[in-house]
């Protein structure tokens, strides 16, 4: 497995960054690095769906929101008043509830983070299954619009329902104790741990996705991307493979949503917005569509810059420009961009500038 050697340098870079921030006293950068890592988790999942299976999704922020919102609502909404409800009783029997006190000292009964996490992932699986069967039959514009429509429905639902906090979102989400000593929380004392938790989850996901791509499933996906009819004719069950990939990427998105929500201590409707979905697509496109490491690198860099506020009020515009420029000049991603491509000497550059010159000449004539 030659490809797995890439993991070692990445791991070294991750550790070096942490040591560097500790040494230079800029440990606060780790907060945005952690958040970027969770967004990148979604992005690598989307990368497999878009780059390898060739299916565009403009609704992945919807899955992120399903994960984040369900886990946030279950771990914060007080069930004390509904103790007699059969569902609550069942959860109690399964040991999924924890009692406590809210800030006013009143009794608080909520679902434990682990149970909430599993329920949220289950919800994402169910939604992606039910949605995926009809949606993945569509192609091109129809697929883009259908997934976009799904994203907008999720956005409208969280914005309109009181249970999900309407425009305010949900705040006060407790930390999530994955294992003893691994506590997902935005508390400053846990910052370094959380940085490694995020990277740990991300790298495990990368490992799984890499194996998926190198397996029979991966070869089938590439065949589907190349020519679906040919793949069908060769006996590849294209519908099943597309659906499985869709579900894998939906679960990764939901997981990213769950962990980031516990880390941030809350979630707002903007996480479900169409612009977020478009942003993820933009990052996958910059990374080079069928290039997992490229998607990961771009996911880290662009999200980090965006979260640090480097783009100011041009945040969305920057991603719009990135989309256009990459798709016009380097549809295979920024890594395929050889030096000097934009110069008038290169072929693509000559095409573009030649066109502009022709326009100019026509105007003068």
């Amino acid at each position: 497995m030659r490809k797995n050697f890439v993991f070692l340098p990445v791991l070294i870079i991750v550790v070096l960054i942490q040591l560097l921030t500790a040494w230079t006293g800029t440990i606060f950068y780790l907060t945005q690095m952690t958040m970027s890592a969770y967004y990148s988790l979604l992005i690598v999942g989307l990368c497999v769906l878009m780059g390898y299976a060739g299916q565009i999704s403009l609704g992945h922020a919807g899955f992120f929101a399903i994960g984040g919102y369900i886990s946030a609502a279950l771990t914060t909404r007080n069930l004390t008043a509904h103790v007699e409800h059969p569902v609550v009783r069942l959860l109690d029997l399964l040991g999924c509830l924890q009692a406590g006190q809210d800030i006013y000292g009143d009794p608080l009964l909520v679902v434990t983070p682990w149970a909430a996490c599993l329920l949220a992932i289950g919800a994402a699986l169910a939604v992606s299954f039910v949605l995926g069967i009809p949606v993945l039959k569509l192609k091109g514009h129809y697929l883009a619009m259908a997934t976009l429509g799904f994203g907008i429905i999720v956005y409208r639902l969280v914005l309109a329902s009181e249970y999900f906090g309407e425009a305010d979102g949900i705040s006060g989400v407790p930390g999530f104790s994955l294992l003893p000593g691994l506590f997902v929380s935005g508390d400053i004392s846990w910052r370094v741990t959380n940085y490694y938790i995020a990277w740990g989850v991300l790298l495990i996901a990368m490992l799984l996705l890499r194996h998926l791509i190198d397996s029979r499933v991966g070869r089938a996906l590439r065949a589907i991307h190349g020519a679906q009819d040919a793949a069908d004719a060769m006996g590849v069950d294209t519908a099943r493979f597309k659906l499985q990939t869709f579900m894998v990427s939906a679960v990764l998105s939901a997981l990213a949503g769950i962990l980031l929500t516990h880390y941030n201590g809350g979630i707002g409707p903007s996480e479900a917005s169409v612009m977020k979905s478009v942003r993820y697509v933009a990052i996958v496109a910059v990374g080079g569509m069928a290039h997992l490491w490229g998607a990961l690198a771009m996911g880290m860099i662009l999200n980090f810059l965006s979260l640090r506020g480097c783009f100011g009020s041009y945040d969305d515009a920057v991603f719009g420009v990135i989309l256009i420029v990459i798709m016009l000049f380097a549809p295979n991603g920024i890594l395929s961009l050889r030096l000097g491509l934009l110069s008038p000497l290169s072929l693509k550059g000559r095409q573009f500038f030649g066109f502009l010159r022709k326009k100019q000449a026509a105007k003068e004539a």
């Binding site: 949606v135 091109g140 129809y142 619009m145 907008i152 719009g320 420009v321 989309l323 095409q351 573009f352």
Partner: protein, 296 residues
């Protein structure tokens, strides 16, 4: 439900429906000549409204609207020439992403230009409270302006496509591009023309609807989704189907207000879109025999 209330809802539905129909026809014009869905279609409507409001500060209303429509047409032409014309056989995925990028760019530029304030043109005739009685329902005269303008646009577009030579060339381009080239039609110019035309009708609709629906920098996305829904209901590329689909969606939305909370209204339109995509992707009015030859 009383007759007056029924008519009130009906008129509201027809008003919104005719705007959706115009957006859908804008989609169709570009789709027919290029095979591209222009995700920035809603932004043309926004630009039409915003530019009219800006020009109104210096010019009388009709001139301001005319100028805004012309400016939006120029922007449409510019977009096509800068971003689309020189690409050689771009894939669908690439075009989707480019037009999405364009829509974001136009929207963000508008945000920096005009801010996030909600603006509107003044009422063309009368003011906010002047009404006309139609079968007992009270209707603003601006509603008639919207319905009338959209109706006229549909009629003129039909005449344009059926009788003028440029219109016929555009239809030839839509029917079979290679054959059109062989007949000596410059298909590239037809593509530019289709962008100009759909920018123009979008902008005009944006200007006449502004007094009643208001204009904000981000109205484009919502309109584009509704317009696409309508284009799908009517069968993509079918402009008369779009009119039927638009009225259907508009009326459905208007009556749904009395049953479902307003906050869920958009979700309803999109659910309709999804259901139609899954069940009848060739549209309600298209024939399934023709659809069998298409790819969805």
């Amino acid at each position: 439900m009383t007759t007056e209330l029924f008519i009130q809802y009906l008129v509201a539905g027809i008003t919104y429906g005719s705007i959706y129909a115009i957006v859908a026809i804008g989609f169709n014009i570009i789709y027919n000549t290029t095979g591209i869905i222009n995700f920035a279609q809603g932004e043309f409507v926004m630009l039409g409204g915003m530019l009219s409001i800006t020009f109104l500060q210096f010019l009388p209303l009709p001139v301001a609207i005319a100028l805004a429509v012309l400016a939006t047409m120029a922007i449409g032409a510019g977009i096509e020439m800068l971003f689309i014309r020189w690409l050689k056989q771009p894939g669908i995925l690439r075009m989707i992403i480019i037009t999405i990028g364009l829509s974001i760019l136009i929207r963000e530029t508008a945000l920096h230009f005009w801010g996030a304030n909600v603006r509107s043109l003044p009422y063309f005739v009368g003011n906010e409270i002047s009404t006309i009685a139609i079968f007992g329902a009270r209707v603003s005269p601006q509603v008639l302006w919207v319905i009338g303008t959209c109706g006229l646009m549909v009629v003129f577009l039909n005449i344009f496509f059926q009788t003028t030579s440029i219109g016929r060339e555009m239809r030839a381009c839509a029917a079979n591009r290679v054959a059109a080239v062989l007949c000596g039609i410059d298909t590239r110019n037809m593509v530019t023309l289709s962008f100009i035309l759909s920018a123009g009708i979008g902008a005009l609709a944006g200007a006449v609807m502004s007094p009643i629906t208001y204009t904000q920098y981000d109205i484009g996305t919502g309109l584009a989704i509704k317009g696409f829904t309508v284009a799908i209901i009517g069968g993509l590329g079918n402009s008369l189907g779009a009119v039927g689909g638009g009225l259907l969606l508009g009326i459905l939305e208007a009556f749904s207000v009395s049953v479902v909370p307003l906050a869920f209204q958009d979700a309803i339109a999109i659910t309709i879109l999804l259901v139609i995509l899954f069940v009848r992707p060739h549209g309600l009015f298209g024939s399934s025999a023709v659809a069998g030859l298409k790819e969805f």
